[in-house]
């Protein structure tokens, strides 16, 4: 083909590059395409469906009183008991290598050298992972509500919607935190591994040990803040701290303190994680070099 006849090779024209919001939308669109065409989306979908199916079977077969007492206890057990796990899994699947993969796979060279701000790439990817995670969350919610309607009728308690809003905030924070780690490492395995270790081992460990060993409130741990997702699913909001004393002889007691974050406190912890992680993650990605 004669090169001169091609429109491509005609005189250069000035094209107006879209604004950053539009470019964020573009990055989001193609990142979602990535998720929907990759196996990981369907693997997570199967995991989410499997958790829901297991719960459906267990409740239908064993009819546990803790579930079937009232509609509020039902949603507290079903939704409150599993949603944070679904959120963490989604963050690991969709956010764990979102930024580090750009370095490891060298795909970043294809994007970053274009007239687009790095922050637009970062935010676009975050939005895509948020949407993909939201799909999982809504699927899990849909199955929970379907079961709830089956057992208790159409009257869904308002506390569930409060809990859904808090879970959405938690999901944003967890993704923000995951993106921070992902921007810190250039190897996907390490960034995913760090996220897994923190959310599935380190944070729950601190959550459990700190109050019981030294009676201190783990106010700096995001998983502690996320306890508000379950706490709102009570008729009255739980008290902030409860001390239980176990006699160990000779008039001595072993005291265990259990903390439940205040609603404002839980929201503040999640917001703090969201903001600090986003700022740090963006800063690192802006400075990071494709060397």
């Amino acid at each position: 083909m004669e090169a001169d006849t091609l429109g491509q090779l005609e005189e250069p024209q000035t094209i107006r590059v879209p604004d950053s919001i539009t470019q964020i939308g573009t990055i989001t669109k193609y990142e979602l395409l990535n998720y929907f065409r990759a196996k990981r989306f369907y693997v997570l979908l199967i995991i989410g469906l499997a958790i829901s199916a297991l719960l459906t079977f267990l409740v239908a077969y064993y009819r546990p009183e803790s579930f079937l007492n009232t509609s509020l206890t039902f949603y507290s057990q079903w939704w409150g008991g599993s949603v944070t796990f679904v959120i963490i899994l989604s963050a690991i699947f969709f956010g764990g290598d979102s930024i580090s993969g750009e370095f490891q796979n060298k795909t970043g060279y294809y994007l970053v050298s274009r007239p687009v701000r790095r922050s637009s790439i970062y935010v676009g990817k975050w939005v895509a992972s948020f949407i993909a995670s939201m799909i999982m969350l809504l699927l899990f919610l849909g199955i929970a509500v379907a079961n709830g309607v089956y057992y208790f009728g159409a009257g869904v308690p308002y506390q569930l919607w409060q809990s859904v809003l808090l879970a959405t905030l938690y999901m944003g924070s967890v993704l923000s935190f995951t993106f921070f780690w992902s921007s810190l490492f250039k190897t996907s395995v390490i960034s995913v591994l760090v996220t897994v270790i923190l959310f599935l081992f380190a944070f729950p460990l601190i959550d459990g040990l700190l109050p019981s060993l030294v009676g201190a409130e783990p106010w700096f741990v995001i998983t502690y803040g996320a306890e508000v997702i379950t706490a709102v699913l009570n008729t009255s909001y739980p008290v902030h701290d409860i001390q239980s004393k176990t006699p160990i002889g000779k008039g001595h007691f072993f005291t265990i303190t259990t903390f439940t974050p205040y609603l404002w406190e839980g929201i503040a912890i999640m917001l703090a994680y969201f903001v600090v992680s986003a700022v740090l993650g963006l800063f690192i990605f802006e400075k990071r070099e494709f060397a």
């Binding site: 083909m1 090169a3 001169d4 091609l6 429109g7 491509q8 090779l9 005609e10 005189e11 250069p12 024209q13 000035t14 094209i15 107006r16 590059v17 879209p18 950053s20 539009t22 470019q23 573009t26 669109k29 193609y30 395409l33 990535n34 065409r37 990759a38 796979n105 060298k106 795909t107 970043g108 060279y109 294809y110 994007l111 970053v112 050298s113 274009r114 007239p115 687009v116 701000r117 790095r118 400075k287 070099e289 494709f290 060397a291």
Partner: protein
């Protein structure tokens, strides 16, 4: 004539104690193709990465059309395209989608976009694979799509970092033809390479770099003349073998010819005085001799001599 320009001002890049780029000052403007020539590790890719925001300079500035890339990236790269190293394209995308992503980011109008993308794909001879997933492509095929992506949006400034890397000989020749066709229009092309024949074949000007420092910059003739004198070298190829008698009686007696030696049976390397004007006269004389001249071109060994002498001086 375009007024596009790129400029490196005291551009320096350090990696710990290692200096990859050492105070590079270089200004290119107008419509031309400039070869950025140097051995591996000379600082070519580092320079192009700084111009495309893949890395940040330790000191100095990279300007495109007067705009600092690292302070105003989006505006500075607005009318640019770049191919740096061999980027991986998202494997789940088809070639068409990969180019659509670039078109979206650059704000290419939707109307006529399909044709623009198909033309770009056709230019790199990947029409049969346009809807195939990039993940199934070989390295050479991916590089073709990368090259096609630089054509999207009719950029006025194009950065190419060793664009023939990973391509077979036929692909290399095709890419060179694409670059040649691109420079026919008002474009400023800055192409790094360590292949002398590639730069000699494609570029109008050459910037020589080694150890992060600019050694020379100018037109091919200027640079080679500066370092190897005024003598020119050209290869004349004939349809049949040239015997010694023809050499002595006809070719060596042409004006300005200093020496003539057979490179192989059908090709004679001529050394001559008088620059391009004399080269044109020699060509006309050889045609007039009717001894079966089929090709006459500047031998790049002169550039090679310049390159080798500069690199050795640097060491």
């Amino acid at each position: 004539m375009t007024d596009s320009s790129i400029e490196a001002v005291d551009l320096t890049k350090n990696y710990g104690k290692f200096t990859a780029l050492d105070g590079l000052n270089l200004r290119l403007e107008g419509s031309k193709c400039v070869g950025f020539l140097g051995p591996n590790g000379a600082g070519k890719t580092t320079t192009l990465k700084i111009f495309t925001d893949l890395i940040k300079p330790s000191r100095g500035s990279a300007l495109i059309n007067g705009l600092e890339v690292h302070g105003n990236k989006k505006k500075a790269l607005e009318n640019c395209s770049a191919l740096v190293e061999t980027p991986e394209i998202y494997p789940y995308m088809s070639a068409r989608e990969a180019l659509n992503l670039v078109a979206d980011l650059k704000g290419l109008p939707k109307s006529g976009r399909k044709e623009v993308i198909e033309e770009a794909i056709s230019e790199v001879k990947m029409e049969d694979w346009i809807d195939a997933k990039v993940g199934k492509f070989s390295k050479g095929m991916k590089q073709r799509i990368n090259i096609a992506s630089t054509l999207i949006g009719n950029p006025a400034v194009i950065f190419l970092d060793e664009p023939t890397t990973g391509l077979d000989p036929r692909g290399m020749a095709e890419v060179r033809e694409i670059v040649k066709s691109l420079k026919k229009k008002d474009r400023l092309i800055f192409m790094s390479s360590h292949l002398l024949n590639e730069v000699s074949d494609v570029c109008d000007e050459v910037a020589l770099i080694d150890h992060g420092k600019l050694l020379a910059y100018g037109t091919m003739d200027d640079v080679t003349a500066r370092f190897t004198g005024e003598e020119g070298l050209a290869d004349a190829s004939f349809s049949k073998p040239v015997d010694q008698d023809t050499l002595d009686r006809y070719i060596l007696k042409l004006d300005n010819v200093i020496s003539a030696e057979r490179v192989n049976g059908k090709t004679v390397r001529l050394k001559f005085n008088g620059g391009q004007a004399a080269q044109g006269e020699i060509l006309a004389d050889l045609v007039a001799l009717k001894i079966g001249l089929v090709e006459f071109k500047t031998a790049f060994s002169k550039l090679e001599d310049t390159y080798m002498s500069l690199i050795q001086e640097g060491n």
